[in-house]
């Protein structure tokens, strides 16, 4: 938790120091108030005091209260500024850090966890800093000071206050020990309940088809009971808190007066009695301050562990170095653009024992189409992810236009590439903004480029059906578009970029055969001379590629054209047989 404080700026440290001063001032003023009260008390008790004296004391007391209020404003202002400022900086640092990550680091954290770390966790830290600044700094000062002030006024009262503090601490400890762990369990049980409900919702057709409603409800009832019982236990303990606090406060006041009565009775001189009496009145208000301070401290201890977990999670992200290091080349001298070469490329995940890819060799020349086929998990996607440097090859080299991809700046490298992922990604905005997405290092995309790209991607028809055409809104995650529509826009995005190299990672799967075919033939016509890497499941999609690489368990088990592979490669033939009829196979 403390390490996160190093992200505070000098100016903010200065603010913290200022706040500290103001807090000391505030505590001093607040503790002064009972002094005036005691003065007033004495005045009231003394025969013949003038009302003006009392008013003077009252005004002084009010001034103290006002001063304390102003100090609290100032401290609150600093605390808010510092907490929000730190949150802003952390959020921005984490966000930019994540942007610099490669797939490897993202995979290590998981996207969902990174989202929580950039949002919830930072909010958590902001809150604890804001409250901490006001309470954490103030409570101990207040407690110590108040204790000092009352210490000399009678050990009997001090002992009573001590007792009250001990009882308070005992009560809070019991709550923390018994109820707090339950709240952690409640979190898990809530997730569990959510999961069961989600299961029922996502599988609603299956549930109905199997007449499993009762089965699901039983499962839900179990999760529900578990959650309820834990809640019950925790809440029943927590219920002691409020009445307990009231009891301790009132009890302490009573005790102080009770003790006071006996003490006063024991002395004989009137002056001594007067001093004792005013001490008693003052003591009762100081004692309340002491109790309050201890309670504040306990609350802080309750929030602290959660916030420090959050802080740790944030720091984990910030401390992770980005694996991909930028090169310095921005372009190559080679005249023939779009040449890709893999030289003995192997790849494994950092901690994994087994290679995902082993000894991959091939060269794609300018304008060629290279296809990769193989079963799920064979490593095809990983292979093409090495080209835009989503990962770096563990061994061997990946070259584009004769230069190792590691030597390019990432920006220059990616300007050469139009990448279409397996899962179409849409950003909230419009159709046009999605197609024109990104920066290709050249001029701004104009409307004609977008229209052209959409047309090649076979998306014109559905775009024109929209009322606002190209300005039709796209919701977050493209939730207002169908899978096929998203895929076509995602392809249009790559086309609009006018790259040297296309990478299609199984990007035609949501299209029906006909659209798939038309799209590819249009693409070929319109963008001649662009090298294409394509991963596919369907033989039909890749049959006419210039080179087909058959990948199995991370190795190339076949390399050639369709008709060659049918003869030479068993794996390829198996795949083909599953999709094509005998006649078609013979025809090929």
């Amino acid at each position: 938790m403390l390490r996160i404080l190093k992200y505070l700026r000098k100016q903010e440290w200065l603010m913290i120091c200022c706040s500290l001063l103001f807090i000391v001032g505030q505590v001093w003023l607040e503790l002064k108030i009972p002094d005036y009260m005691s003065e007033i008390t004495t005045l009231v008790q003394t025969e013949g005091s003038a009302l003006s004296d009392i008013i003077a004391e009252g005004v002084s007391m009010l001034l103290c209260a006002l001063g304390s209020l102003i100090s609290a404003f100032v401290v609150g202002f600093f605390a808010a500024k510092i907490a929000a400022g730190l949150a802003q900086r952390l959020r921005s640092n984490v966000f930019n850090k994540v942007l610099s990550f490669s797939m490897e680091e993202i995979g290590g954290f998981s996207t969902a966890s990174l989202i929580t770390r950039s949002t919830n966790d930072i909010t958590q830290v902001q809150m604890v800093i804001a409250i901490g600044m006001q309470a954490l700094l103030r409570a101990p000062i207040m407690a110590v000071w108040a204790v000092c002030k009352i210490a000399g006024k009678g050990w009997e009262w001090t002992a009573a206050t001590g007792c009250a503090v001990v009882i308070l601490m005992l009560m809070l400890t019991v709550i923390i020990l018994f109820a707090m762990p339950k709240f952690r369990i409640i979190q898990r049980l809530t997730d569990n309940l959510n999961r069961v409900t989600r299961e029922n919702l996502t599988g609603i057709r299956v549930v109905r088809a199997y007449n499993a409603e009762e089965y699901q409800e039983k499962k839900f009832a179990k999760a529900n009971d578990e959650l309820t019982n834990t809640h019950l236990f925790a809440n029943r303990i927590m219920a002691i808190m409020q009445p307990g606090m009231t009891f301790i406060m009132s009890g302490l006041t009573l005790a102080i007066y009770w003790i006071g009565a006996i003490l006063i009775n024991n002395v004989s001189a009137l002056a001594d009695k007067m001093t004792l009496f005013s001490n008693m009145v003052v003591f009762s208000s100081y004692a309340v301050q002491v109790i309050m301070s201890f309670m504040m401290l306990t609350i802080i201890f309750l929030i602290m562990p959660r916030a420090s977990v959050s802080a740790k999670r944030i720091l984990e992200v910030l401390d992770t170095p980005a694996k991909i290091i930028d090169g310095d080349k921005t372009d190559s001298e080679l005249y023939e653009r779009g040449e890709i070469e893999f030289r003995h490329v192997s790849f494994k995940y950092p901690d994994a024992a087994e290679y995902v890819l082993q000894d991959i060799n091939f060269t794609a020349h300018h304008g060629e189409t290279i296809a990769f086929i193989g079963s799920t998990g064979s490593g095809k996607s990983t292979l093409i992810n090495l080209v835009p440097r989503f990962y770096d090859a563990t061994e061997g080299e990946v070259l584009i236009d004769g230069i190792n991809v590691k030597e390019y700046t990432q920006k220059a490298l990616r300007n050469k590439i139009g990448y279409v992922p397996q899962k179409s990604v849409m950003f909230s905005g419009t159709i046009a903004s999605n197609v024109a997405y990104g920066d290709n290092g050249r001029a701004e995309t104009d409307a004609d480029d977008i229209i052209k790209a959409v047309e090649i991607a076979q998306a014109t028809e559905f775009v024109n059906k929209k009322e606002e055409k190209y300005d039709a809104p796209v919701a977050q995650g493209g939730s207002n578009l169908s899978g096929g529509q998203k895929q076509r826009l995602s392809i249009a995005r790559a086309i609009c970029r006018q790259p040297e190299i296309y990478i299609f990672d199984d990007s035609f799967s949501a299209l029906d055969y006909k659209t798939d075919r038309i799209l590819r033939s249009e693409l070929k016509k319109e963008t001649a001379g662009v090298t294409t890497l394509i991963v596919a499941q369907r033989i039909g999609t890749i049959k006419d590629a210039d080179q087909i690489l058959v990948i199995d368990k991370g190795r190339v088990v076949g390399h050639g054209k369709h008709h060659e592979l049918l003869k030479t490669c068993d794996v390829y033939r198996e795949i083909a047989e599953s999709q094509l009829s005998k006649e078609e196979l013979e025809y090929a």
């Binding site: 007033i40 005045l43 009231v44 009392i54 996207t111 809150m127 009565a261 990448y419 029906d512 999709q579």
Partner: protein
């Protein structure tokens, strides 16, 4: 994702014992408003009827406990008077002790009563929330599928958890607090005026001035809270979007643009975050000041009156406490008002869901089919998810027992709709579907479902062991039967390689490929062992080599069963007895594979497009 944003900044430390929803403070203080506050609260009250006696007992206890605490200062004042009187002579210690003992008992009883109140409310509120949750869960299974077309899962989930939690919290904490606060407020007011009306007026006057100041600040801060909430939503949306599309952002060099947008929102968030943080931080000091102000006013006026001899000093002591008791509930009441608002909104959402129209009751249906032969007729059926836009216009077809019927066609042709109608997930607009001559509308839905095994494109597995997933809700299935089914679909060997075999728990970490998951759902369909079979795009999410395996498993499943197969890979349905080609909700061609190819129509076109050269 729940509809309501969970990432909120809380202003109150008190919310931190609920780690589940982040510090939900803001959600309450910004308060969504219910459309009809009164109705929502009435509905909730009606729902809680069963627990009303317990609630009333709790409330009575709360009032009594509060009154005890109110009597305290009065007695304390008597005690002070006794001491003051004794200053010049001897204190009547016996009287002091008897008052003190009385007070001690009173405080003790106050503690006891308030705790019992808290205990009862905790219990009742949990019982009510449990019932709400379970009612919602039951409701999910009673709603027509139509409902889920227009409502997101996240929305329903958020009702089960967030909304119910909000209601529970209010019942647990706010209701008791509200009642004690009101009692305390009125009681303190009464006691003050009863003790001394001049001082009471002065004290109340001072408090009201302070309170006006506070209301002003609250109303100002609301704006910032709301703004902060919106900005938080915006920034979380942006973060989610960019992280989820990370590869595309990188591949298209979109980092700078993303970063720029982020900074803009982040700066806006910073501004309203510190403002709302500052505002919420002001509340406590202002409350303190109001207390002090009242205090001084009471002291000065009290002192003046004491000098005149109008009142005793004990009155001042009592007033000092009354002022504290009077100002305390004010802020609690203000808070309770906003809590009640969001509770009303939550219960409105919950009860709205609970009163959604359910599936028709079918307990009076007489017809029953136990073991259908599998003769299925579609007789001029017509259907649209939205009655104005028919999806299926006039669909007729006949399936003979044991036949394999394939339904093909482009996306949006209505293939899955046919299955939905066959399973009676939706009701027909007109026409009839008959199984063995009995219209499905005459059968109960359970009966119809029992007649079919179904395998869907989305493999649906739940968190549980492999065995549980295969057996699902079928009763009396032995381990041998499970193994047999898994052997039949060819996944038995794989399961045995897993460390826990059939007891391996399937969850997010389970390393099952899409194909293996699909094989498990097919095994589940085998266990179900119904007379007919529906396969809805069951192989489209797996690669073609796994598909062969699944294909073989499915062929085993289709033996002797009338089966309906939807596929977009035409290779999988070539051996069907009847292929129905659908387009725009109608059958445009039908026949066997060879038949249709030789017709050279839409099907032939579709089929050949798989193999054509790109030119």
């Amino acid at each position: 994702m729940p509809k309501n944003n969970d990432y909120t900044i809380g202003s109150q430390a008190a919310n931190n014992n609920r780690p589940s929803h982040g510090p939900g403070g803001m959600r309450q203080s910004t308060g969504e408003k219910a459309n009809d506050f009164g109705k929502a609260i009435r509905q909730l009250a009606a729902y809680c009827k069963r627990y009303l006696p317990a609630i009333i007992v709790a409330l009575v206890l709360a009032i009594t406990g509060t009154i005890f605490n109110l009597i305290g200062p009065d007695k304390l004042s008597d005690m002070t008077d006794l001491i003051t009187e004794g200053l010049t002579g001897n204190i009547d210690l016996d009287a002091v002790i008897s008052i003190a003992a009385f007070l001690a008992i009173l405080y003790g009883l106050g503690l006891l009563f308030n705790y019992i109140q808290g205990f009862i409310m905790a219990t009742v509120s949990q019982k009510i929330t449990r019932r709400l949750r379970s009612d919602i869960s039951t409701k999910i299974n009673l709603l027509p599928l139509k409902y889920f077309d227009s409502n997101s899962y996240g929305d329903i989930l958020s009702r089960v958890t967030n909304d119910v939690d909000t209601i529970g919290m209010t019942l647990n904490q706010s209701l008791g607090t509200l009642i004690s606060s009101v009692t305390m407020f009125i009681g303190a007011l009464f006691m003050m005026f009863y003790t001394n009306w001049i001082m009471a007026l002065a004290g109340v006057g001072a408090t009201i001035i302070g309170f006006i100041l506070m209301t002003f600040i609250i109303s100002r801060s609301q704006k910032y809270f709301l703004q902060q909430q919106n900005e938080l939503g915006a920034i979380n949306g942006h973060i989610e979007e960019i992280y989820a599309g990370h590869d595309v952002v990188k591949a298209y060099n979109g980092e700078n643009a993303a970063s720029k947008t982020f900074e803009v929102i982040n700066n806006r968030l910073y501004t309203c975050a510190w403002k709302s943080q500052f505002m919420s931080g002001l509340m406590m000091p202002i409350m303190n000041f109001i207390g002090n102000l009242g205090y001084v006013v009471v002291c000065v006026i009290g002192a003046a009156m004491a000098i005149n001899g109008t009142i005793s000093f004990g009155v001042i002591v009592a007033f000092m406490i009354y002022i504290r008791l009077f100002t305390q509930p004010l802020s609690q009441l203000a808070q309770a008002a906003t809590t009640l608002q969001s509770t009303a909104a939550a219960s409105e959402r919950v009860f709205e869901f609970l009163s959604e129209e359910e599936l028709a009751d079918e307990s009076d249906k007489q017809e029953h089919l136990d073991n259908a032969k599998g003769y299925v007729e579609f007789d001029h059926i017509r259907f649209g998810y939205n009655p104005d836009k028919p999806i299926i216009k006039d669909f007729s077809a006949v399936a003979q027992p044991g036949q394999k019927i394939a339904i093909v066609g482009p996306t949006g042709a209505g293939k899955t709709t046919i299955v939905n109608l066959l399973m009676r997930f939706y009701e027909l607009d007109s026409g009839e579907i008959r199984i063995d001559g009995v219209p499905t509308s005459k059968l109960t839905r359970e009966n119809v479902h029992d007649l079919f095994c179904m395998v869907l494109q989305d493999t649906w597995l739940f968190e549980g062991t492999i065995k549980e997933n295969v057996i699902y809700c079928k009763e009396g299935i032995t381990d041998e039967q499970v193994e047999e089914a898994c052997k039949a679909v060819g996944i038995h060997h794989f399961i045995q390689t897993l460390p826990d075999g059939y007891n391996t728990i399937l969850n997010d970490h389970a390393n099952l490929s899409a194909g293996q998951k699909q094989l498990l759902t097919i095994a589940r369909a085998m266990i179900e062992n119904a007379p007919m079979l529906i396969l809805d795009e069951a192989t489209s999410s797996v690669d073609t080599r796994t598909e062969i395996q699944i294909q073989q498993a499915m062929d085993k499943l289709t033996q002797g069963r009338t089966s309906f197969i939807i596929a977009h890979r035409l290779s999988t349905i070539k051996n069907a007895d009847l292929i129905l080609v659908m387009k725009d909700g109608d059958i445009i061609e039908s026949g066997t594979h060879e038949n249709l190819l030789s017709q050279g129509g839409f099907y032939a076109d579709l089929y050949n497009s798989q193999f054509e050269q790109v030119s």
